[in-house]
Symmetry: D2
């Protein structure tokens, strides 16, 4: 079988450099281009790239995707900063290239994506649910974007299942003890030297609890998700938002 | 809306007594009969039961189900001891009552069922996976039936996804250190005073781990699953094996 | 060896009833009296009690201890509500009975006491430390008294070791995300159906973390601590505050 | 205050290179020499080193320590391979240098040392105890040396406290399910891609459990222990075996 011809944009960044190595190491892929700041996009077409992994910046991503779609190169995008306007523009471009696929993934860690998915699925079956995220103390925001998103998905699942407010008899509390309230789901942020990025969802019902925990110990954890995206995007025309759509959870 | 008319068979057992209370407490149900050893099955028909929760013994269950199906009463069955012969017999009976449903569930704990389901779904995306079960020290078998079943489901999912043997460079080991081998999945059993019934599935891939843990702290944890079964079995003719089929995980 | 003659005051309360059973089951003890509301204290002297386990109410405890000390009966006290005035009064009484010992313990769970002790010992060696307590949702205060006390002990140990503020780069946070501040130690309170009483102390330093977790699954967990107190108080004249002083941690 | 003059032997190894950086970063220390393979020991004396961190190999360590002691330079030793003969030889040398101190530490991770210490202290108060260690799948031995040592310390503490065999009703078990037996303490080894080095000690008694967990995420975790050793060894003449003797756990 011939190998998939893959390019990396943003190859000099921390994640980009990992992606270059991951593509090179994948037996079913061939790295045909690795572009950094200032390199010409034409290289991608000349190299015959079938898929491009886009790991640049919000300032560059739209121009890059415009080029990719015009050349029928599939895109796997980790760059952030997506707005409704941008997504609409991207949709228009893709309408003109019905065989081209683009995957945009806010998180390429399969463990993180599964944690969110499982948490939302389980949420409808438990009275109580809280989210704890744990990170290194250099992190500037609390809670993490992933924890906030997880809590929102849980809250939506609870609402859909007709669950009301969570049971909580707290009458006297120190400020902050019960965490931040994200759509009715308490979220707690822990900052500890020695940690990297971790998240735990605790669900509780009559006589039992279910805990789903994700520990991210290295950004190499994004690579299996990126490779999975590269393989699946070639068979998925149009826009896909979120790696979860490429996971077989049947 | 009229309430669902529910009976409990085996109402004097530990789980049965809990089920009686749970049905009584459910707003959408009415307890119309609670039968113990020696009570007549005809009571069920006279009471107009629509669903019967069957929590007796392997010696009684077939006779009870025969009666239920002949009277078009749906069954929710927690009694164990199912063989292929018994299931075939039950299928024949149900063929003659096309509107009647029977749910047999080896485990009514929603947390336990979700743990197995999620573990099998996630297994295809991780190189490594091991199962740890933790119980009180009076338990006579190791590993638990649930842990063995979980490992088997994981192994099947790995095989289907084309994953090979797990990475393990162990060259010198004390006997037993690496656990029991269940279809290639290591299973470890911990026995500790103070514990009840707990299970943890650990999945590991490049740079990340995913942990799914179920803690069962009281047998009241079976009640939400039994009530869910009662509600759903009325709309599900035929035989359903496993509570997971009644969970909406879409 | 003759058995230790033990009485229980408050024998009809939930913990008191457990204590009666625990003393009866202990091979080196004999239950000589079990007093409830309205029973006469003289019974203790007539029964020849050597040690009395005091599990009544703040309204009764001083009168009971006055009687015990005057009759040279050692006391093991779980009743709460201690003030400096009460402790001073008790000290005066004990000065007049130099062979009599009284142990007052805010918490008889050996696991809880060890968690506090170990957390305080470890705290001086780690840059970061946070406390998470997890309870059933019927609890009215947050955080728990034990968690607050643990955080205070940790803060005192950090101060003594000359550690400054914990590292925390948080610049933008949702209200409550970073928990309650107890003397500079973040404390997070989780409320979940299915839980009982649990506490986790997380300590983090360069490249490593240490976690100490206590799970209390039943109030029978107080019994080993009460029996230990009964055995040790006979050899420890005067007032001892806190079960930790009776643990050999050398 | 004048800074402590510190040298590193084995400065080109992975841990040695970290030690060089850690000494340079310590405000109360000055790095005066960093020796690799082939460098002359005389450099240490010429540089006026007061303490040398010895991170070489079993083949070099005795020659290095002989030199250090003859020049009254304190030693902090992470090199392994200690036998009774070697320790006796070292003792003889130190007898001739009554002001010189040598610390040998099998493990410089403060978290690992505290875990062992706390586990042994707690062991006498719980009926049940098991050890779980979790490592990356490239590890060749199971269980880890640290886990075996931890189990031995626990077993010794139980024996000293007069505890008998652990409760365990297991009658039928799959081979290996109950782990390896180390002096009566079950030890379980988990191997998972994504993990580094982790250990958990689970203690259980009536109605409660206590868990002590150490997660080592980077070998930089050895540095605080090495720096602590450097500071304390100057005030501790003679031989000290084990970092725990330098921790204040009063």
């Amino acid at each position: 079988m011939s190998k998939l011809r893959v390019a990396v944009l943003g190859a000099q960044g921390r994640i980009g450099a990992e992606a270059v190595k991951a593509v090179e190491a994948a037996e079913d892929m061939e790295l045909v281009a690795a572009l950094g700041r200032g390199d010409k996009l034409e290289t991608l077409a000349e190299a015959g790239a079938q898929v491009a992994v886009e790991l640049t910046t919000p300032a560059s991503v739209m121009g890059n995707l415009d080029f990719l779609i015009r050349h029928n190169i599939h895109g796997v995008v980790g760059t952030t900063g997506w707005t409704e306007d941008r997504l609409a523009q991207l949709g228009t471009w893709l309408d003109g290239a019905p065989e081209t696929g683009v995957l945009i993934a806010p998180n390429f860690s399969i463990g993180a994506v599964l944690t969110m998915k499982f948490a939302a699925q389980a949420a409808r079956y438990f009275e109580s649910v809280e989210v704890v995220e744990l990170h290194h103390p250099n992190k500037v925001d609390a809670p993490s974007g992933t924890a906030t998103r997880t809590a929102q998905l849980i809250a939506a699942a609870r609402a859909e299942a007709g669950l009301g407010a969570q049971p909580d008899a707290t009458a006297t509390a120190l400020d902050g003890a019960r965490g931040a309230d994200v759509d009715g789901v308490p979220v707690h942020a822990i900052r500890l030297r020695g940690l990297l990025a971790h998240q735990e969802v605790l669900l509780g019902g009559e006589g039992e609890t279910l805990t789903i925990r994700h520990d991210s110990l290295h950004h190499s954890s994004f690579m299996p998700g990126i490779l999975l995206g590269v393989r699946r995007v070639t068979q998925t025309p149009g826009l896909t938002f979120g790696l979860e759509h490429f996971l077989d959870l049947g």
